[in-house]
Amino acid sequence: MTMTSKNNKKKLTRQEKSELLDMVAAKFKKGSNNSLLEYIERQREAIRRSISPTL
């Protein structure tokens, strides 16, 4: 299957989209997206610091 990137406007079939989403989800499970996880952790800490005890 030809993968799409955000610069590629190839029309994907429903099956191709389904397979691609499966692959993205699988990668997410394996923790291969470290930059995203690091971002989430930074945001999580920032919100925790800002939370009032009375919230």
Binding site: K6, A25, N33, L36, I40, I47
Partner: protein, 189 residues
């Protein structure tokens, strides 16, 4: 929030306590979007989650959080994100969800001033807060029907830079909106 017909097909993924939804934005480009619901901490009797939206570039395996992509399908993307909210609450029924825009941060405004041609006063960036305004406008416009299922709160940052939760008032321009699923025995707040 589940009544939209113009939404993209979504795929969910539960990763420990976090929940993620994936979909294809099909506008000028094909873009994989990820709606992130990530756990922050336990607040009294409920877990607090934050909502974020990211692009995923499969060619570089990189994520671009809260990026403005101008893909020509903003409403369909917005409706798809809204449609994930009932799905999220079906998984974490007791959660409190926090919604805020990445363009509401001081960092966004500082960066905006570096390249922006608008001559905004120092205390006001006209490009800021657009995202939360879209969510808030939706809540305000549909408040009566939404409050049958959800309880909304405004989030206010006090002088000590601490987040306070207040009763939602449609007249206030909150930069943070919090919501939780209404339970059978919940009253107004």
């Amino acid at each position: 929030m589940s009544h939209f017909t113009d939404t993209y097909e979504i795929r969910s993924k539960i990763s420990e306590r976090d929940v993620h939804f994936f979909f294809f934005s099909e506008g000028k480009k094909n873009i994989i979007k990820v709606v992130l619901y990530y756990y922050v901490l336990d607040l009294q009797e409920y877990p607090l989650y934050n909502l974020a939206l990211s692009d995923y570039d499969i060619s570089t395996n990189s994520y671009h959080i809260d990026k403005t992509t101008d893909n020509g399908d903003a409403y369909k993307v917005f409706h798809t994100v809204l449609a994930t909210i009932p799905c999220f609450f079906s998984i974490w029924q007791n959660a409190m969800l926090m919604v805020q825009g990445s363009d509401s941060t001081q960092e966004f405004q500082d960066n905006c001033r570096l390249t922006c041609k608008k001559r905004c006063p120092l205390a006001e960036c006209r490009n800021a807060h657009r995202r939360i305004n879209i969510y808030r406008n939706y809540v305000n416009k549909n408040f009566d029907s939404l409050t049958k299922e959800y309880i909304f709160y405004g989030g206010i940052i006090d002088i000590d830079n601490q987040l306070l939760k207040v009763e939602y008032n449609k007249e206030n321009n909150y930069r943070i909106v919090l919501l939780k699923k209404r339970k059978f025995d919940d009253h107004d707040i």
